[in-house]
């Protein structure tokens, strides 16, 4: 258990900034999409950003379902 907690703590430090970067990419790609910048490189960035946004939403849906399904796990233990 201690080992697991240590691993989670290390992961927390790593994820802190990568999570913020993911959110920033989503924000920027939406802004660029609204501005309709005509550039092939920008197009690739927008495509990646919007797909990340959608995957982010799908992951959240998964987290929501996980939370609902495992809601009573603690009580069962």
């Amino acid at each position: 258990m201690k080992k697991y907690r240590e691993a989670v703590r290390l992961m927390q430090n790593k994820i802190k900034y990568s999570g913020a970067v993911v959110v920033a990419i989503i924000y920027i790609s939406f802004i660029v999409a609204i501005l309709k910048v005509q550039n092939p490189v920008v197009d690739v960035f927008v495509t990646i950003g919007i797909n990340i946004a959608l995957l982010f939403v799908i992951v959240n849906l998964g987290a929501l379902l996980y939370g609902i399904i495992t809601r009573n796990r603690r009580e069962a233990n």
Binding site: M11, S18, G19, V23, Y27, L64
Partner: protein, 226 residues
């Protein structure tokens, strides 16, 4: 370890319905706004008619969430007593907390705001949900019942409604991305903050993160507002 009840069963259930609806709305709605980038989603779901049908079913769930929150908590507040609405109502302290928090995050001050049951961020998120819901309800209804809408408005209004609907959807996704960051990626909560599912929080956490609420509980205040 002692635990404190933070959310009632009805709050847990309505969060689940609202979150499920809004996430489904994004999955089915974003490909309509960005068909070039997200065309694979409708292809996976069985085409645009199926995607639109799912979008409308999810919209009904989203509207039901808003109607439930307004009627149940509104009536509870009016006739029974302190409801969830009383807890999340914006106060002058929240503006002060927002300024204090911003200063702290920018490194201009060492003082962190002392939160009650709901922080200014939680309250702002909750009320922005209502603002967005109202806009989506109006613009979405115009688009859903487009032929009927044309009977009493010019066609360009429909186009405006479409742009407003899509624009606010993007703002809303950004809001949800922020919310997800706070409940998943934030080191304090990583990997997932489970209190919205279990309804309870360890007392130690309450003491650390919501000191004013903890003081209120210690003084014998009501802790499980409906």
């Amino acid at each position: 370890m002692a635990e404190i009840k933070r959310f009632s069963i009805s709050q847990v259930a309505i969060h689940a319905l609202g979150a499920f609806s809004i996430l489904t709305l994004y999955i089915t709605g974003l490909p309509i706004t960005f068909p070039d980038q997200l065309g694979w989603i409708p292809a996976l779901l069985g085409g645009y008619p199926v995607t639109m049908l799912l979008h409308r079913i999810a919209a009904v769930g989203f509207i039901a969430t808003g109607v439930y929150l307004l009627t149940y908590h509104g009536l509870y507040d009016a006739f029974v007593g302190k409801s969830f609405f009383t807890d999340v109502w914006l106060k002058i302290k929240d503006i002060k907390d927002a300024i204090k928090d911003t200063k702290h995050l920018l490194g201009l001050s060492k003082d962190k705001p002392s939160y009650g049951k709901y922080s200014w961020i939680a309250k702002a998120e909750f009320w922005s949900f209502f603002g967005e819901a109202a806009i989506f309800l109006v613009t979405g209804s115009i688009l859903w019942f487009s032929w009927q809408s044309l009977a009493f408005m010019p066609p360009q209004y429909l186009l405006s409604a479409r742009y407003i609907h899509a624009g606010f959807a993007m703002v809303s996704v950004c809001g949800v991305a922020f919310h997800s960051y706070m409940v998943h990626f934030n080191p304090e909560n990583f990997r997932i903050d489970r209190c919205i599912f279990t309804g309870v929080v360890p007392e130690e956490e309450v003491k650390e993160r919501y000191p004013q609420w903890h003081e209120e509980i210690q003084r014998g205040g009501k802790i499980d507002a409906e």
